[in-house]
């Protein structure tokens, strides 16, 4: 202390640095903060508005809205349990198809394809993601469904002893009831999987491409085959991306509307038989019934929308946490 007094140096404490920003900077910072705040408020209000519109529904039906299966506004009986089931059925089927295909395609592009055409393949996958969903829906309805019902029949014929693959009636009879095999959750799931394959694939491929060269070479130098290298280096490294991309796809699959709307014939029975016609999903229900709705019906549809909002928000937050936590996420920071 004495020393500092002598030399006139202030004591060894951090000083507060105060920078005076030029006015242009203050305007700039306030401006972009304002825009960001506006966007935040906009998105925050989506949840709030849906919740606000749902209040009458919850007042009227209470928890039975979630547990009741049928949707009969005329009879004043409204519930979404069968619809929730259908939503998850379609999403899970879509995921079971999309996950292996997206993973395989991502590995093919990043590890197996010739380097010359790799960027072309990446563009094609991105292009596939850009194809409007109404076109996938049309493809699924007009081209896929006639083929897919044959596959459905084959599955129910040979795997019908598993309850979810059973279909009412006898699939082996000469005049099998074709109409029972169309408009099923299975076919909708295939259609939706097409839309999430490119999304999941490009997330996975992006992570695989960052697997460190040093570890790749280490595996090869030990005498590994390409698959051995992929298995020991690329897949463990890309685990976060694999999970994250899949969850992102799941989020999309839960909310997909128009493609499902092509396939669906709305039916509110609790239907575990995925190959059999008749199911519903939240988004298809909303889109289908919205046009001709009365006021209380509208409120019920908004509540269904709120449920979808909460589910997708949970799934996507989970995806973000998983991607962020994995080692692969860290490498993306430039």
């Amino acid at each position: 202390m004495a020393g500092s007094a002598e030399s006139g140096i202030s004591p060894d404490q951090p000083i507060t640095i105060r920078a005076t920003l030029p006015w242009a900077d203050r305007v700039f910072r306030r401006g972009v903060s304002g825009v960001a705040g506006l966007v935040l408020a906009l998105f925050g209000s989506i949840g709030l508005f849906l919740a606000y519109q749902s209040i009458p529904t919850f007042n009227r039906y209470g928890l039975s809205f979630l547990t009741r299966a049928n949707w009969d506004p005329e009879l004043d009986k409204v519930g979404i349990s069968s619809t929730l089931l259908g939503t998850f059925e379609v999403a899970v089927i879509a995921l079971m198809i999309a996950f292996p295909v997206a993973l395989g395609t991502a590995l093919f592009i990043s590890e197996y394809s010739p380097a010359r055409i790799r960027s072309l393949l990446i563009s094609l996958v991105d292009l596939m993601a850009a194809v409007p969903s109404v076109i996938y829906g049309a493809w699924g309805f007009f081209l896929l469904m006639p083929h897919a019902k044959l596959v459905s029949r084959w599955i129910s014929l040979y795997l019908g002893w598993i309850p979810i693959f059973r279909v009412n009636g006898d699939p082996s009879s000469a005049t099998w009831a074709q109409s029972r095999f169309v408009n099923s959750a299975f076919i909708a799931g295939i259609c939706v999987s097409l839309m999430i394959i490119p999304i999941a694939c490009s997330v996975m491929r992006g992570v695989f491409a960052q697997a460190p060269l040093g570890e790749r070479e280490a595996a090869y130098a030990l005498g590994s085959t390409r698959w051995g290298m992929v298995h020991t280096v690329v897949l463990p490294f890309g685990r976060g991306g694999i999970i994250g991309g899949t969850m992102l796809g799941l989020g999309r699959a839960l909310g997909e509307t128009i493609a499902v709307l092509f396939i669906i014939s709305l039916n509110f029975n609790i239907n575990f038989r995925i190959l059999q016609s008749g199911f519903s999903t939240i988004s298809a229900l909303i889109a289908n019934d919205f046009g001709e709705s009365t006021k209380p019906q509208l409120a019920a549809l908004f509540t269904a929308g709120l449920v979808l909002f909460i589910i997708t928000l949970a799934v996507n937050t989970g995806a973000a946490v998983l991607i962020g936590r994995s080692r692969s996420g860290a490498a993306t920071e430039i």
Binding site: E215, E217, A218, Y220, L222, T225, G228, M229, T232, P236
Partner: protein, 284 residues
């Protein structure tokens, strides 16, 4: 001749017992490079390099950056062709058999000729023990539990790491220090029982103490495998090697060997004035 006698610059003698030159019945394989040339695209980086590497010998490849040492080393176990535009000519004979001959299995070659890289690269998702046996897993060799444990102990001991990690074999390989990681990588290479071990500047990312341990390890390995090491460190080359090859690439021309021979001769009485300039630190 006094001028060509700079050995006193290299402070080695303390290590004499470990680093001695005498190996009576060396294991390992003969590795002969015959007229090896290499290209990246149209750019030729190596011009007809020939070198013999014998069992019981540590061969050091020295020379300034960009002279093709690392490329040459990677040619020796077919890692060169990992680069899509890489090409090469000539032969590399492992005990007389050309590893580039048609019908030679790439994975088999790499298994017999192990490699340790500049930067330690243990597999981060595997434990220490799993890292050691990774090569066996990758090449489809199955071992019983007791054999596996014995192999882990033997490999880690040969790499001089056993006593340091024997109580934590289940820990992640990435949690070790840099020097330990590099010795873990050496142990991993040794576990597949290679005939030749290639080392690409294995100590350049390590501190002096770790470097010393790795050099000790190399000296102990000499009797078991043929070692080829690329190094920028003259003292290291003088300490660990019995044979030395000096690579040089003049401006705009492919690299090649200027002089090769016994290490003592390269350092004490080189024939080429460029070698003398380099080992005495006048350039490079």
């Amino acid at each position: 001749m006094q001028a060509a006698q700079p050995t006193s610059d290299f402070d080695v003698p303390a290590l004499a017992p470990d680093f001695g030159p005498e190996v009576l019945h060396p294991k390992g394989a003969h590795l002969d490079a015959v007229a090896v040339s290499a290209w990246f695209g149209t750019n030729k980086v190596l011009e007809r390099v020939s070198l013999s590497m014998s069992p019981g010998t540590v061969t050091a490849l020295i020379g300034p950056s960009g002279c093709g040492k690392s490329t040459f080393l990677r040619i020796l176990n077919r890692m060169h062709e990992m680069v899509p535009i890489a090409k090469l000519a000539g032969q590399v004979r492992l005990d007389g058999k050309d590893i580039y001959a048609p019908g030679q299995r790439l994975t088999e070659t790499r298994k017999r000729i192990g490699m340790v890289f500049q930067k330690p690269n243990p597999f981060p998702t595997m434990s220490i023990g799993e890292n050691v046996t990774a090569g066996l897993k990758l090449t489809g060799v199955r071992l019983g539990k007791s054999d596996r444990d014995a192999l882990i102990e033997r490999s880690l001991s040969r790499a001089g790491l056993w006593t340091e990690v024997k109580d934590r074999l289940g820990n992640a390989g990435g949690a070790l220090s840099g020097g330990q990681q590099q010795r873990l990588c050496i142990a991993r290479s040794l576990a597949v029982d290679p005939d030749v071990l290639l080392m690409d500047e294995p100590c350049s990312a390590l501190d002096p103490t770790s470097t010393f341990r790795v050099e000790q390890t190399i000296a102990e390995l000499r009797s078991e495998v043929t070692v080829v090491i690329v190094t920028h460190n003259m003292q290291q080359a003088a300490r660990v090697s019995q044979q030395c090859a000096f690579f040089l690439a003049a401006q705009g021309t492919p690299g090649g060997i200027v002089e090769a021979g016994p290490t003592t001769k390269i350092f004490s009485a080189p024939e080429d004035p460029r070698t003398e300039d380099y080992v005495n630190g006048r350039f490079g």
